[in-house]
């Protein structure tokens, strides 16, 4: 008896929606097994991880604070991934966006006019775009693999941040701590309500709407999808391969840059040597879990944000290591990819393998 995959004649619409849910279910089951193996009560641990953070207002707000950058980066990445460009260096674009966005609050901190904030957002976007332009340029000009170049630039960006925070941008009154000066009120993103939730979340929602509109209502959206699925057909239609590479990288770079700027200006309030718990990489999971669909990405972003908060909550409640968060994130992505197979294939159980199958059976 064995399982065999049988190609469906067309995409299963039901499975398209269902597969992320199945993947989540499997992650929870696997997580429960993992908790049990570590000697914790799985029910209690899963409750602390997934439910408890949703029971009080403080942590729901914190959930939205963390979902903001994830959604914003992921929705940009979805444009890139849909056009079959693999920008996996969003973490670096996030970092450079944060650096560029911090130029006004650190270097020109006397400037507190009404244009300071819009300029900072613009600078953040530009910073991310500059960093994303390197892999885009190398890919279009020399055909260099963008996966490796964009990833290498993550490390370079982190070293640059480290250098600036410990060197020229260190707060002169900061007792030699590797931190920049604390941003002026005029350089801090407006909060929504009186908690920690700031305008960054609104940026994310705007980005979701813009990308949704572009993908579903405009020719550009069609071009992206055609170039991603059948580049040959796209070329016959007159779409430019180079153009689409640049477009994908610029959109994802700008969004990641704005996310970085918003994180520094809205959540942290100064530059520190570490400004992200891996948002740029987690956003890749968000993009896939959300099926590269803007609306799906909102839900996926909230879920992955929950995994961050859940990790902290389980740490407080049960003394679990918060490292478990990244394990959950990795498992989730694995199950999502595995379940996506169900969209294109159906699983058949074959009773007994016929022996005389020839070459086909040897595979």
């Amino acid at each position: 008896m064995r399982l065999e995959l049988e190609k469906r004649s067309e995409h299963s619409a039901l499975m398209t929606v269902l597969s992320p849910v199945v993947a989540l279910g499997l992650t929870v089951v696997a997580g429960g097994i993992l908790f049990a193996a570590m000697g914790y009560n799985p029910g209690e641990a899963l409750y602390a991880f997934f439910i408890e953070p949703l029971t009080n207002q403080w942590s729901i707000e914190e959930l939205l604070v963390k979902a903001g950058p994830l959604i914003l980066i992921a929705v940009g990445l979805s444009v890139c991934f849909l056009s079959n460009n693999w920008n996996i260096g969003a973490e670096g674009q996030f970092t450079i966006g944060a650096l560029a966005g911090s130029m006004i609050p650190i270097l020109f901190h006397e400037y507190t006019g009404p244009m300071a904030m819009p300029l900072m957002v613009l600078m953040g976007a530009l910073g991310g775009m500059v960093w994303a332009s390197v892999p885009a340029f190398l890919k279009t000009r020399f055909g260099t693999n963008e996966i490796l170049t964009s990833l290498m630039l993550v490390y370079v960006a982190q070293f640059l941040l480290d250098y600036l925070v410990r060197g020229p941008w260190r707060d002169p009154d900061g007792f030699n701590f590797p931190e920049s000066r604390i941003f002026d009120d005029a350089h801090t993103l407006m909060t929504l309500g009186d908690g920690r939730l700031h305008l960054g979340f609104v940026f994310a929602l705007v980005a979701v709407f813009v990308i949704w509109f572009m993908l579903s209502q405009t020719l550009k959206g069609f071009e992206i999808k055609v170039m991603g699925e059948t580049p040959r057909a796209g070329r016959f239609a007159g779409f430019s391969h180079r153009g689409i590479v640049w477009f994908g990288f610029m959109v994802s770079g700008a969004f990641a840059g704005i996310a970085g700027m918003a994180e520094v200006s809205g959540s942290i309030g100064q530059l520190t040597p570490v400004i992200s718990p891996g948002y740029g990489f987690t956003a890749i999971i968000v993009a896939f879990l959300g099926r590269l669909n803007p609306i799906g990405i909102v839900f996926a972003g909230l879920l992955l944000a929950l995994s961050y908060i859940g990790g902290e909550s389980a740490q407080v409640a049960l003394g679990l290591s918060d490292k478990i968060t990244r394990v959950f994130q990795g498992m989730l992505l694995f199950f999502v990819l595995a379940c996506d197979t169900l969209i294109l294939y159906r699983i058949r159980l074959i009773k007994s393998a016929p022996k005389a199958g020839g070459a086909h059976e040897r595979a």
């Binding site: 190398l138 260099t144 693999n145 490796l148 290498m152 070293f159 490292k323 994130q329 990795g330 294109l344």
Partner: protein, 306 residues
Amino acid sequence: MSALEPILLTIITASTPLLLAAIGELITERSGVLNLGVEGMMIVGAVMGFAITAMSGSPYLGVVASMFAGMAMALLFGFLTLNLMTNQVATGLALTILGLGLSGMLGEAFIGQPGIKLPVLHIPGLSDIPFIGTVLLSQDILVYISLALVAAVYYFLFKTRAGLVIRAVGDNHTSAHALGYSVLKVRYLAVLFGGACSGLAGGYLSLVYTPQWVEGMTAGRGWIALALVVFASWRPLRLLVGAYLFGAVSVLQFHAQAAGIGLPSQLMSALPYLATIVVLVIISRNQAVTRANTPACLGRPFSPDR
């Protein structure tokens, strides 16, 4: 002479993990599978190697454990990409993310613990020869394994029938299948070999390079190994040259820092990553050569019913 020796020794130490991981990935890619999860397999190999060494007291047991840990990760990758035909790029990324997470969790108990270094194999008579003996013949077993693997992979790929089958599967899986070769079986073996090598590379980091467990200690070496395979245009001997060139760059960077060159240390630390980009650009400028050498079915899933 005596000033050169320590530099050469550190170059060997810096190059070996890159060489190990890259030679495994070279076989994987030759069979037509792109496994971007080298970093993830490596770091799990590193943590398991350290953990088993710490618990058993034997670094050799640690080396074996790191190899099997890499293979276990590779098996997971193989099941998804080969059986379920998932996207290889995305699955490789998932493997890296999962590996980094798992290693962080598994290694938490070992942070700050002193490690046991893999001993140098002393070859009586030979290891005492000045220079050649003290540099080349006073290494640990993993260095010898890495060099032997290069020779073995070269011989295997180009001089044996099985090597020809791997190349056939990587270049045209439909024809290989029609000839009666099992594409999935060949690819599974290639993926597992890649995992074993990546695991060993990780084990080298936590047992020789810096004999301790530090979270995220692979620091992008898995990705550099991937770049090296492209740089070597999928040829084992060029890979040897590439890995040692790279090891040299990263070591000279340390020496330049120590010598007090007036550049920020962060810039020097970023050099290996920048060098990777430069190397990739140089190699990809010559598109014709790259295209001729790239396994034609690299990254393409194979389903027998087509």
